[in-house]
Symmetry: C2
Subunit: 437 residues, 2 copies
């Protein structure tokens, strides 16, 4: 390949000869003139092939969408009546030489049409190349890096949480079973919970962004078998409110970064920036249920999550809403009970635009109480002996939270199905291809 | 808890009353005076309890290593003859109030003694609290973040690679089998290879730092069942040399960051900064074998990796050495054969201080050739149909590499066993606890 100029740098090269390389997005064949829209990682530029270069015109007539080409030509300002408001709409490349780097089969469908979800997922190696898909995962990268930045700025240390675990520890979520060596078995982590607590004993404040795995037989628009969890855990807290402050700080930083970098992107999805009140509103679960006029069930139903978020949006001008104080029996064994509100926990969920995206709380740090709770939950302390060492040897009051990367991405962009916010979604019926029935 | 001052901020507070909180590292009981070394995330400070506060002295006499305490007292400059060169060695806190946040059992061993590896690993929730362990994973965080920084600076986009995959695609490495829904099965990814190639079609340049899994029955000082892979892949390259340049750039950035931040840390491990020549030396495999005076086997044995690295250190003043042009049959099916050196590939390994830490190369981008190779490798193209879509619909010349985070960490610090460079190592015999035989 010749020295390549990225499309975005062409305006600086008007009047000069440059070489670009990329994918053919569109070919417009006017017989004597052929126009190609060429996509590279920096943008899309129009190139024009004229009858002056007959051989080039002949080749250009054969190229089709998604062919990969290298083009050399003169960068020119477009005639005034041909200029557009699009990026790089002022210029074009008048081609002198073309090389085909790779051909492509005829596309199975027009990439600009709206596809049904299964067709879209069946062809991700192709459909991820659309602007819409590239936008989604560009935003997702900003979210996960924004999370890391916010935590690092508060002296949280990143650690690599293990994926293979010895048992389905928490007992609640269904864990996938792995054939380990010989006749042994392992499980896939449903959360880095126990490890991040251990790490509080090491660094006080830690975060991790591992893949976690849930084997429940859900077939909804908000569940995945494999997803990215943005987790943190911190020591020396007073209570769950300290944890909520870190969650709020991280969300503000993420939303701030999205606003700073992705204004245009949000407009392409016709969504607003998330509404942020000066401080995120918070309701006890029972308060929320009272507002909704529903009974005191141990959790909110999906439609109640949507309704209480609508309330927060209207009454508190916030797209985020904390719900706190879930009943003891509804939360995991390690959740701290509120001395001031017995039967209820120092726990919280964060709802965002109608969906739970974060769950967290203060954890039990007293060894004896923790062992007691494990027994009360009908779990076996022996199964937790490794984890329990952290408590046996001194743990401070601590808490933390976990936020689903894909859920946050999906709600930020108003995507109807979380699978659209996951590069290669795994679910009941699909690992890349649809699983045979 | 009262408003807490971190240990590192105490020197600014001499003459004032401050509250610190942390773990008791050491208690020195002189009867009338008790000294405690208190560790928090920012450092270790000495506190002193005097007979002036009898009740406090009584409590202080009961505390033991790893108890978690909160202490209020006056920050004082130490008497001149009591000052030490250690961080915070100029000051101490004269305690007026003590609260026990958590007790700890008597430790099973003295944390300052050198433990055998199995004892160390059996007690990670405790042993990770040692300075040595905290140093290792502090450095590891710098390495992985340094990798991300270097790649981002060159316009690589981060993506989340999947862990659950449909088949043991490459056929080479042994993949762990996962019980998926109903009677279906999945596997754990041995590498993000196929997905990062797909992503070249989307963003041109991508990176990911996923966990990957290898089920070979290795019991060595350099293999793990689960490790962190620092992967990238890039399009529009001329050949593998473009890929090697990005690897070299990333390593220089990582080493630069380590040097900038962790000079003291390296000294604690008695290791030098990695030696970096002005450009990293590179040998064809056959050239290396000639230098070593060994036959032309398809790969280097571990002792040959060590010997050729000693050669590079002596002759080229470099702790890094590229080995290129492995035989076609020794590399995966997607590896690009060198037209100028038939039978050998545009592939490379990067060795660092005697160990292979990185592997990479140019990949085949032509659809037909790739399908041919899959057949030649006795694999089934149908099994690769999802991946092959990327090539059917136009892929540019591309390549990439993968670096083992734990191996790089281990060699940077001169650790004898890679398990020490892994927070919670999984191997043939261990997932946290030792597996029953």
């Amino acid at each position: 390949m010749s020295a390549r100029t990225l499309n975005r740098d062409l305006p600086k090269n008007v009047g000069r000869v440059a070489t670009v390389a990329g994918w053919v997005e569109v070919r417009r064949d006017h017989g004597k003139l052929i126009f190609l829209d060429i996509r590279d990682r920096s943008g899309i530029v129009q190139v024009v092939v004229t009858p002056k270069t007959k051989e080039v015109l002949k080749i250009a007539a054969t190229v089709r969408p998604q062919w990969v080409v290298e083009l050399e030509g003169e960068v020119k300002e477009r005639p005034a009546d041909m200029k557009t408001q699009k990026p790089l709409g002022d210029i074009e490349l008048v081609v002198q030489r073309i090389s085909i780097l790779a051909q492509a089969d005829e596309l199975p469908f027009d990439l600009s049409t709206e596809l049904n979800l299964d067709t879209y997922l069946d062809h991700l190696p192709l459909t991820l190349r659309t602007k819409r898909a590239r936008d989604i995962f560009t935003l997702q990268e900003t979210i996960i890096e924004g999370f890391r930045e916010a935590l690092r700025a508060q002296e949280f240390r990143e650690f690599q949480a293990p994926t293979l675990v010895g048992g389905d520890a928490e007992g609640g979520a269904a864990a996938f079973k792995v054939g380990y060596y010989y006749d042994k078995h392992a499980y896939l982590a449903t959360s880095p919970q126990l490890y991040k607590q251990i790490m509080v004993g090491v660094y006080e404040r830690v975060f991790s962004t591992p893949k976690v795995f849930r084997g429940e037989k859900h077939a909804t628009t908000r569940h995945l078998s494999e997803y990215s969890s943005m987790d943190f855990e911190m020591g020396f807290i007073n209570d769950h409110l300290d944890v909520m402050r870190v969650v709020e700080h991280a969300m503000r930083h993420i939303v701030g970064q999205v606003g700073k970098i992705h204004g245009d992107l949000l407009r392409r999805f016709s969504v607003e920036m998330p509404a942020m009140a000066s401080s995120m509103p918070s309701l006890k679960l029972r308060e929320a249920q009272k507002i909704l006029g529903v009974g005191e069930t141990p959790d909110l139903e999906p439609e109640h999550e949507r309704e209480i978020c609508a309330w927060a949006r209207n009454e508190k001008s916030s797209d985020f809403l904390f719900i706190t104080h879930y009943p003891v029996k509804k939360r995991p064994f390690y959740t701290y009970e509120d001395e001031a509100d017995p039967g209820y926990t120092k726990s919280f969920d964060l709802l965002f635009r109608g969906l739970e995206i974060t769950t967290g709380g203060q954890r039990i740090h007293e060894y004896k109480l923790l062992v007691e709770r494990i027994r009360e939950w009908n779990l076996d302390p022996e199964q937790f002996s490794y984890y329990l060492q952290a408590f046996k040897y001194g743990m401070p009051p601590h808490g933390g939270s976990a936020t689903g990367l894909e859920r946050l991405t999906a709600r930020m962009l108003g995507l109807a199905n979380i699978k659209e916010a996951t590069l290669f979604p795994r679910d009941l019926n699909r690992i890349d291809t649809q699983l045979s029935k």
